[in-house]
């Protein structure tokens, strides 16, 4: 078993943080890599990016949004309980180098994934500007940590309850108008990454996105995670999860993410009924 040593609820209980004992993975993991977790014998294999690792303590931290049966089950795990299986580190680490100014854009739980990358970009000597967004103030996560990890943090909410009233793309445009930026990193819901990539394309700034297709093994043996990048099929678990946002076929990804929507609904409703 991989025990949970610390647990936190964020964004009004819709987002959960688990710090998990996994010394072998903690020792090897780099920013941008993910793990696959399975709660119990009947459980599904669920990919989550590592938001933090502590090699000395031998722990990794995941931050996830509760969206269906498996993440709801994860939410119910208490400190001292744990996951039956944790596999990783998987995927290619983020390519971090000193390029000048980097603009990091995060939406929803994507901010958790963006955090270690932001920190690494700054540590590499880049000037890092961050834009993070959420639907409303209550759903915003990791604001303090992102502030510490970057040189300049901007916040927006869809409903205007906090920071800029509007989408992250508004601020991305504003920044790109005023400042020369060498690299954009955009991580969040697929529509957000699609929109940011469309904006940065017009400014011709290289843009990296992190894709989240449905996965099983995470080692390149099933092909379930295939995505189209520049007209070619890639396996996100081994070729990614990070890709050039200007090449990604986001519409295909959006459709493929809905492959099991009927089954997922059935499964989640069953679980909710059981816990009522």
């Amino acid at each position: 078993m991989f025990p949970i040593v610390a647990r936190e609820e964020m964004a009004q209980g819709t987002v959960i943080l688990n710090e998990i004992e996994a010394p072998l993975i903690a020792r090897k993991a780099k920013p941008g890599q993910f793990v696959i977790l399975k709660a119990n014998e009947e459980g599904e294999r669920i990919p989550l990016t590592m938001a933090e690792t502590d090699p000395a303590k031998g722990t990794i931290t995941v931050i996830y949004m509760v969206v269906g049966k498996s993440t709801a089950l994860f939410k119910d795990l208490k400190v001292g309980e744990g996951y039956q299986d944790v596999i990783g580190p998987l995927g290619r680490p983020t390519h971090v180098e000193k390029v000048g100014t980097v603009l990091c854009v995060g939406g929803g739980t994507g901010v958790a994934v963006l955090h270690p990358i932001t920190r690494a970009m700054k540590a590499a000597g880049n000037h890092v500007i961050c834009v993070i967004g959420a639907r409303n103030k209550g759903l915003l996560i990791l604001e303090e940590k992102m502030k510490a990890a970057s040189n300049d943090l901007r916040v927006c909410t869809d409903d205007g309850s906090y920071g800029h009233h509007g989408f992250v793309t508004d601020i991305v445009k504003e920044v790109l108008e005023k400042t020369p930026v060498q690299q954009v990193v955009a991580i969040g819901p697929v529509p957000m990454m699609k929109a940011v990539s469309a904006v940065t394309k017009t400014y011709n700034v290289p843009t990296m996105v992190s894709l989240n297709p449905i996965m099983i093994d995470g080692t390149g043996m099933c092909g379930g995670c295939r995505v189209s990048v520049g007209g070619k099929t890639k396996f996100a678990c081994v070729d990614g999860p990070e890709f050039d946002g200007h090449q990604v076929n986001f519409d295909e990804l959006t459709k493929r993410l809905r492959a099991y929507c009927t089954e997922e609904k059935q499964c989640y409703e069953g679980y909710c009924r059981l816990n009522d």
Binding site: K28, E42, E44, D85, V86, I216, T219, G220, C222, E264
Partner: protein
């Protein structure tokens, strides 16, 4: 064969009892139910105990077939299984999945009349008898040598290496990327052909002998080969299989409803998705299913789809029946279960709707031309023969390649041009000191028994190395 002929030919094979096709096509229980001791003895008595047995030549690991069959005839099943074990560590598996018709049974002298001794059925019987009636006593183990071996991959190849080396007194750790050990035996071959309890028991046997099984260990990611040496392992065996799915590379392949056989079978077998929603992993339920390819993997996929309630299941294959690479028994079982064979047909594009879901497939009719490099007649498209079939689930089972995950992280391991590891065919030694490899990652997708044979050869070589040096 008609019933009358069967009665006339007193020496006909004792048929294997099987579940009725109409019942079994909707359940996941094993299809053949196994010989009774009386049936086994009757079948064993057909063996004429050849002085120069062709059957042994046909078996890649040279099981002493007349020897064990003689013991079955006498009713000494315990001695028979011990006899088999000396050459083959997984007879319960091999008896079920070896392509006997081109191996042992293919070379049996009685095959001249088309009725070879049912060697596979007998091997399976002995193993099952031992499992159900045996004492479970462990074989003797040599004194500890203090040497440590890491076996990467827990398929038949890795399990064989582990079993051999632990009995020679070495300490063995098996590292498996998945959360369950067994390789293809667990994630690929379905329950109705190889019950998972059998594989679990084989793994448990190794654990009782003292082998350590570490799951969730993706070698190349969680730990590298060099780090394993730094941790103090004296030798490493790589048996990671050929786990890279091939696709057709035709338009529309990323529509929802097109899965590699690896994905489909992993969902069904490893994740037990056929029990959804009792388990959390879903599997697409197709109404009109098409399976591309005609090997064992294709048959397993097609029969799984039938069991999951499909209205129709087609095998779509570009060559003819004679070239189908699957075991004869599987093709026969598949047809009995109502699976259609759409031969000399090749898909050219997939068709979908606005939501990105598969609705059909455009195919071409083929004809056979001159033999190609593989010696099989080359399929050639017939011009203007395009036609469409309606399908909502396509399972692509057209082969697999070398997964580069481990080899990419080990640059000093020599590969061939297809990415398979280069290893000495006699010993399994690779270009990297202290590292052996065998099974599908060396030969490309092959068979269980060949993977085990490679494991045994490597185990002998590793033992020599640990005793005498490289």
């Amino acid at each position: 064969m008609t019933e009358k002929m069967e009665k006339q030919d007193k020496k006909g094979r004792v048929p294997m009892p099987e579940q009725d096709p109409n019942v079994r096509k909707r359940n996941f229980q094993e299809v053949p139910t196994g010989y009774t001791p009386a049936m086994a003895q009757e079948e064993a008595a057909r063996c004429v105990q050849c002085k120069k047995p062709g059957c042994v030549e046909g078996c890649p690991v040279s099981v002493d077939i007349p020897g064990f069959i003689n013991l079955v005839t006498k009713g000494d099943f315990t001695a028979a299984i011990r006899h088999i074990w000396s050459m083959n560590a997984l007879p319960a598996v091999c008896g079920r999945v070896c392509p006997q018709e081109i191996q042992c049974e293919g070379k049996c002298i009685l095959n001249k009349k088309g009725l070879p001794v049912a060697i596979g059925n007998l091997e399976r019987f002995c193993a099952d008898y031992e499992r159900e009636h045996g004492t479970g006593a462990l074989p003797p183990k040599a004194a500890p040598t203090g040497k440590r071996i890491a076996v990467v991959g827990s398929g038949p190849s890795g399990l064989t290496v582990a079993g051999d080396l632990i009995q020679k007194g070495h300490s063995v750790t098996i590292m498996e990327a998945f959360h369950k050990p067994g390789g293809v035996l667990v994630y690929g071959i379905p329950e109705f052909r190889l019950p998972k309890a059998i594989v679990a028991q084989e793994v448990n046997f190794l654990e009782r002998l003292g082998a350590e099984v570490k799951c969730n260990a993706v070698v190349g990611r969680t730990v590298s080969l060099d780090e394993l040496f730094e941790e103090g392992y004296d030798a490493i065996y790589i048996g990671v299989g050929a786990g890279l799915p091939s696709f057709m590379n035709i338009p529309g392949e990323n529509l929802i409803g097109i899965l590699s056989a690896n994905e489909y079978l992993t969902r069904a077998n490893l994740m037990k998705a056929y029990k959804f929603p009792e388990v959390d992993t879903p599997i697409p339920l197709g109404k009109n299913v098409a399976v591309l390819g005609a090997g064992n993997v294709a048959m397993d996929s097609a029969r799984t789809a039938m069991r999951l309630g499909a209205e129709s299941v087609k095998i779509v294959y570009r060559r003819s029946r004679d070239e189908m690479p699957a075991r004869k028994a599987e093709i026969h079982h598949a047809e009995e279960e109502g699976i259609e064979m759409m031969l000399l047909t090749n898909p050219v594009r997939y068709l979908g709707d606005e939501s990105g879901r598969l609705t059909g497939m455009q195919c071409l009719k083929m004809e056979l031309g001159e033999p190609d490099a593989s010696g099989r007649r080359r399929p050639i498209p017939i011009k203007g023969s395009e036609f469409e079939i309606k399908t909502d689930l396509v399972i692509v089972a057209v082969g697999s390649g070398a997964n580069p995950l481990l080899t990419q992280s080990t640059p000093d391991l020599a590969l061939n041009k297809w990415g398979y590891i280069q290893a000495d065919p006699e010993t399994g030694k690779t270009s990297k000191r202290g590292v052996w490899a065998g099974g599908d990652i060396v030969t490309g997708a092959a068979t269980v028994i060949l993977a085990m044979g490679a494991g045994r050869a490597a185990a002998n070589s590793i033992h020599k190395y640990l005793t005498w040096g490289w």
